[in-house]
């Protein structure tokens, strides 16, 4: 409905909107994200996002397997690409954020970044055309893995009591602590895993919806119900689909990076806090 209003606003005043803006135009909605099972394995209905997740994971594993199977001292071909990826995670994320102890978390961060990026990229791969991470389950589980790691690392580093004690900020007036401590714990233990996963999910969800909206607008006004006056709207749809796809490419990499960066930041805080 909003789409119709927007489209109508884009037209010169005075044109009879009813003659050109077909009533049957349906803006895409939540239906884009709901998939019927393609087939069943036992009681589990396997949907398109699941198939994408498995296939893309397989491709990713195959790619890095090929890259690091027989490492040469002077890297060539795929190994070059793999090493650039590895060094990026090690130097720019692990060592930069966590510090000297960062190296042992590179495997986790490396896997997180490339899985998320690939899952996001599925949004613009023809045929796939669906960002796996726009189904909340995927970012939720990834954030849960980071959360469990954060708690585990913290307890290992400081002990159970130390882990909780380490989270309390130091150097504030004593009277304020009873008010501050519940906020600190609620923030770290409850709100943070939530914002961590929702940020990725919401970005991918909105991006997919936008691309779909413009693509459907183009399709509707240029193919399904072409009219002279609707032509301009259709062209805008085509151009915006291209612009949004380019923009999405940027957001996909950025969100994968931010998710990994924050994961590193949480792990780093568990290691360093408390003295």
């Amino acid at each position: 409905m909003t789409a119709i209003a927007l489209a109508a606003g884009a037209l010169p005043a005075g044109t009879g909107t009813h003659t050109i803006l077909a009533e049957e135009f349906h803006a895409p909605g939540l239906g884009l994200f709901e998939w019927e099972p393609l087939f069943n394995i036992g009681p589990v209905g396997v949907t398109k996002p699941m198939v994408l997740a498995v296939v893309l994971s397989g491709l990713l594993i195959a790619f890095f397997w090929a890259a690091f199977r027989r490492p040469q001292i002077v890297p060539r071909g795929v190994q070059n690409v793999g090493e650039v990826g590895y060094l990026f995670i090690r130097d720019d994320i692990a060592r930069n954020i966590i510090g000297k102890k960062g190296d042992q978390y590179v495997p986790l961060l490396f896997a997180l970044f490339f899985f998320i990026w690939t899952f996001n990229l599925a949004s613009v791969i023809p045929i796939a055309q669906f960002p796996v991470t726009s189904r909340f389950g995927y970012p939720a589980v990834l954030a849960a893995i980071v959360y469990v790691t954060w708690v585990g690392v913290g307890i290992k580093a400081h002990g159970l009591g130390g882990f909780f004690k380490a989270q309390i900020p130091t150097g504030l007036p004593k009277a304020i602590y009873p008010l501050i401590i519940p906020i600190e714990y609620a923030s770290n233990l409850i709100v943070r895993p939530f914002t961590h996963s929702v940020r990725l999910f919401a970005n991918m969800f909105a991006g997919h919806l936008l691309i779909a909206l413009f693509a459907i607008t183009a399709w509707h006004f240029l193919v399904e119900q072409p009219t002279v006056l609707g032509f301009g709207v259709g062209i805008i749809g085509v151009l915006m689909t291209i612009v949004m796809t380019a923009f999405e490419l940027l957001i996909q990499a950025l969100q994968a990076f931010i998710f990994t960066l924050l994961a590193a930041s949480y792990i780093g805080s568990a290691l360093e806090e408390a003295h």
Partner: protein, 69 residues
């Protein structure tokens, strides 16, 4: 918080920590206020105080944590 002044000061993390503090402040103290209101029957006095106070405490916590040297 580490003593060497390196509290993972990357801007992304700080921004989201402050959002998290604000949300948590409102949820925790707004929630306490709401429970008090239900108990005493003074709705919505304590809920409002809790939400505003929690918001203020969240800002204070974020400020103290990330702006001091």
């Amino acid at each position: 918080m580490s003593q060497d002044g390196q509290d993972h000061q990357d801007p992304q993390n700080i921004a989201w920590s402050i959002v998290s503090y604000l949300l948590s402040g409102i949820l925790v103290w707004g929630g306490v206020g709401w429970l008090l209101d239900r108990w005493i029957g003074s709705s919505p006095v304590f809920t409002v105080i809790g939400i505003l106070g929690g918001c203020g405490l969240g800002i204070y916590l974020g400020y103290m944590r990330f702006t001091r040297p």
